[in-house]
Amino acid sequence: MASKMEETYVHRKLEAHKPFSTKQFFLQWEWLLVLILIGVMVLNTLLSPYFLNVTSLRDATMIFLDKSFIVFPMAFIMIMREIDISVGSTVALSSVVMATAYNVLGMPMEVAVIICLLVGALCGLLNGLLITKFPELSAVIVTLATMILYRGIAYIILEDQASGNFPEWFGFFGWGYIFGVPFILIVFVIIAVVFGLLLHKTSFGRRVFAIGHNDVASKFSGVNVNRTKLIVYTLAGVMAALTAVFLASRMGSTRPNIANGYELDVIAMAALGGISTAGGKGRLIGTVIAIFIIGYLQYGLGLINIPSQTLMIIIGALLLFAVIVPKVKEMRR
């Protein structure tokens, strides 16, 4: 009886235990993503004469990469079978504090940027503390409450005002190039590599996977589950603050209502990238491809002026398609 059950219900979990089959499974997954990406590129090229050229492809990355920083720590969180829906509000709060530090408190912009990152870290740390100190509460509850709270604080600070007038050099984050490559793309690559190494090449990353597989078992085998969670949530806060820096630079000002709904976009990107919310699985390269799929799809279809409601349907369908295909294959086997 038990073996039958394992075969059907815990099928996927078991699969993850066998290194060989896991590898194959993911190999397929990422290949599928690559194919979808190629499909998107071909489609866009056919549909719009403006899509396929270096400037266009390059500048498009400046549009969609801002929220991508959060996708990596979100992937860590989802691998641990948790979720963080407060990241959009963290973006708003940290950017508002940064603008206030610069405009009202008269601090130099460099200091304000550091404060912004600190505020993000603090928001993430608070999420982590609440989640680890109150294990009865699921991450959804905690981050739902802090989502409202962080944005609420942002409203209290700035009320109905926008805050901007940043120094000239600050615009470089969102608009600058280094040797013709957008600055944000360079930062993105660095962060992707760092997080990729962290997840797949360090003992920290192995702990994240272990917690995702079975947090009780990992606790007994000596993994400091709480500390790992704290670090990951803090990282999510810091990355949200980094997004805040780029977003504020791009808009030249900030308001308490920015980055509304970013959390769902980020979760969608991670899920498309093959990070399973059932925990314990996922490779970061998949999320990188997924970020580019969604980004270029939105950009390309925007170039032929698809109405946004159609775009919503297409993105929804793509997300479903990407998660259903492996299931169908699994079932056929």
Binding site: M1, A2, M5, E6, Y9, V10, I83, L130, F134, E136, L137, S138, V140, I141, V142, L144, A145, T146, M147, I148, L149, Y150, R151, G152, I153, Y155, I156, E159, D160, N214, A217, G261, L264, I267, A268, A271, S276, T277, A278, P307, Q309, T310, L311, M312, I313, I315, G316, A317, L319, L320, V323, I324, K327, V328
Partner: protein, 344 residues
């Protein structure tokens, strides 16, 4: 890991666990109730018009739709799922029904309501099918369908909107009429609660939902079809969203593409305030209704208190966090007491 879980679910253990859970469940609601009473007293001290019959009736009317959705969401959360698409389902059903009644002004309100429920059930079936037969994770399936349903709403409406003058009196009357001095919305909500009490407590399927939620593996072993449960839960949620769509459009006498955007978060907040565990298996109807009422009280009281609009969100977040943490504290206290008793 799976074998240890199996051991845990031997019949004797189940009994013990359930009786303990029931106790905690009761105490948890008391914690929430105390919190609500304190909040109500505090608000009443600052604005004496809070506890008037009129305001209580307004509050109940405004909370009715939220609490109807919360009942469905509770069942979804109990099976360890989540449904982010309810706001979009609500808008889609509301829009289609509003278009229909504006063209057929003779439509009976009952037909309109049934139509809304039907559309909602269709939406719910799609999600249920995705979750059960294709094994898509609920958060992803509903996130995707949220996009799709919302997009469909815009397409169906084709950039137009339905205004109050296009709706027949009888349709708008669904939300404004009174039965025995009580607003129809409240009565519909009460019917939904009654149905839910019967369904959860007195039907096989209702118990199966909890069994799947608290321990999917053992539920499977005991012969409960997980797929069936998922389909039922999401279809119910869809049906309730469809119903709410009609009520919403009737209450506000307006149907637009962006109806109830983001409403799902309020509903989920009401559920978790009411003690439904996202980890599945636990959730009581009384708790969820209390949770919905706490959200309703907040929405009603913050404007009455003359709080600066910029502080409203911050206060709302703090209160939700405080209520959730208080619940945990109370629960821990109860558990400690139980343990002490056992030792004696």
């Amino acid at each position: 890991m799976s074998t240890s879980m199996m051991d845990e679910t031997l019949p004797t253990n189940i009994e013990k666990k359930e009786s303990k859970l029931a106790k905690i469940g009761q105490f948890r609601e008391i914690g929430l109730l105390v919190f609500i009473v304190i909040l109500v007293i505090a608000v009443q001290l600052r604005n004496s018009s809070f506890l008037t019959l009129e305001n209580i009736s307004d509050m109940a009317t405004n909370t009715a739709i939220l609490s109807i959705l919360a009942v469905g969401m509770m069942l979804v959360l109990v099976t360890r799922g989540i449904d982010l698409s309810i706001g979009a389902t609500l808008a889609l059903s509301g829009m289609i029904v509003a278009q229909f009644v504006s063209n057929h002004s003779g439509t009976s309100p009952i037909v309109a309501i049934l139509m809304g429920i039907g559309i909602g059930i269709l939406c719910g079936l799609v999600i249920g099918g995705l979750v059960s037969y294709l094994g898509v994770l609920p958060i992803i399936a509903t996130l995707a369908m949220m996009n799709i349903f919302r997009g469909l709403t815009y397409m169906v409406s084709n950039g137009k909107w339905i205004s109050s003058y296009q709706m027949p009196e009888s349709f708008v009357g669904i939300a404004t009429s009174k039965l025995l001095g009580v607003n129809t919305l409240i009565i519909i909500a009460l019917i939904v609660y009654a149905f839910a009490i019967y369904f959860i407590g007195h039907t096989r399927t209702g118990r199966q939902i909890y069994a799947v939620g608290s321990n999917p593996e053992s539920a499977k072993v005991t012969g409960i079809s997980e797929k069936k449960v998922f389909i039922i839960v999401y279809t119910l949620m869809g049906g309730l969203s469809g119903l709410s769509g009609v009520l919403w459009v009737s209450k506000f006498a307006s149907a637009q593409g962006d109806t109830a955007t983001g409403y799902e978060l309020s509903v989920i907040a009401a559920c978790i305030l009411g003690g439904v565990s996202i980890a599945g298996g636990a959730g009581k109807l009384s708790g969820v209704i209390l949770g919905a009422f706490l959200i309703g009280i907040l929405n009603n009281a913050l404007p009455l208190l003359n709080v600066s609009p910029f502080w409203q969100k911050g206060i709302e977040g703090s209160i939700i966090l405080a209520a959730v943490l208080l619940n945990v504290m109370v629960k821990r206290g109860v558990e400690r007491n139980n343990l002490l008793k056992r030792r004696v």
